[in-house]
């Protein structure tokens, strides 16, 4: 079965609001990355976490390997935050391969 379950699959926010995306893992992961894919298809690396929490501007991400989940929080959403967000995790027993979530399509409305 799927080792990475990402939710929600789609999300609509008004500018200035916030929400959280989540990835649950069904196997032990040693690190997670979060990406934003923009309308041109480019993937931007937002975070790499082996544990704990990182923050960058209006984005904050947490990785809890013990409880097998990671979250990406967006606050004060802006129009340029629109896109598809993916989490991708490294399994503890795997090298050079990432397991990807199915993505969250985020639409920011004025």
């Amino acid at each position: 079965g799927d080792q990475v379950e990402q939710s929600p699959s789609a999300l609509s926010l008004h500018e200035g609001t916030g929400s959280a995306l989540r990835c649950n893992f069904t196997t032990t992961m040693r690190a997670v990355q979060w990406f934003q894919q923009n309308s041109r298809g480019s993937l931007i690396n937002l975070f790499y976490l082996a544990s704990g929490t990182k923050e960058n501007g209006r984005l904050k991400s947490t990785f809890n390997s013990k409880e097998s989940y990671s979250t990406l929080h967006i606050r004060d959403a802006q129009l340029e935050d629109s896109g598809t967000y993916f989490c991708a995790a490294e399994a503890a027993d795997s090298n050079y391969q990432l397991i990807w979530g199915s993505g969250t399509k985020l639409i920011i409305k004025p």
């Binding site: 298809g41 991708a88 050079y96 990432l98 990807w100 993505g103």
Partner: protein, 112 residues
Amino acid sequence: AQTIHQWPVAEIKAVGSPLSLGCTIKGKSSPNLYWYWQATGGTLQQLFYSITVGQVESVVQLNLSASRPKDDQFILSTEKLLLSHSGFYLCAWGQLSNERLFFGHGTKLSVL
């Protein structure tokens, strides 16, 4: 600063025709290199990775092959395209001590 360049930006090809996609990394020595494929509206599927010149590991079999002829170059190819090869191909690089991946802008492939 590191830069990653993919070519071509887009291709329209006939079923049964050959394909070659390229990826070049500048500003980073001995990077780990990766090829990914993405169906329209779908998630990413890792195809190949390479940790050194001349060595390529396959992750999934999609009637594609990859080669790393130089430290900074990664090539994806096939002799005979299938309709199912249509999609978006992305090249990425990472460094062993911190496997944060950085992607190129991708190549959109349409097989007709």
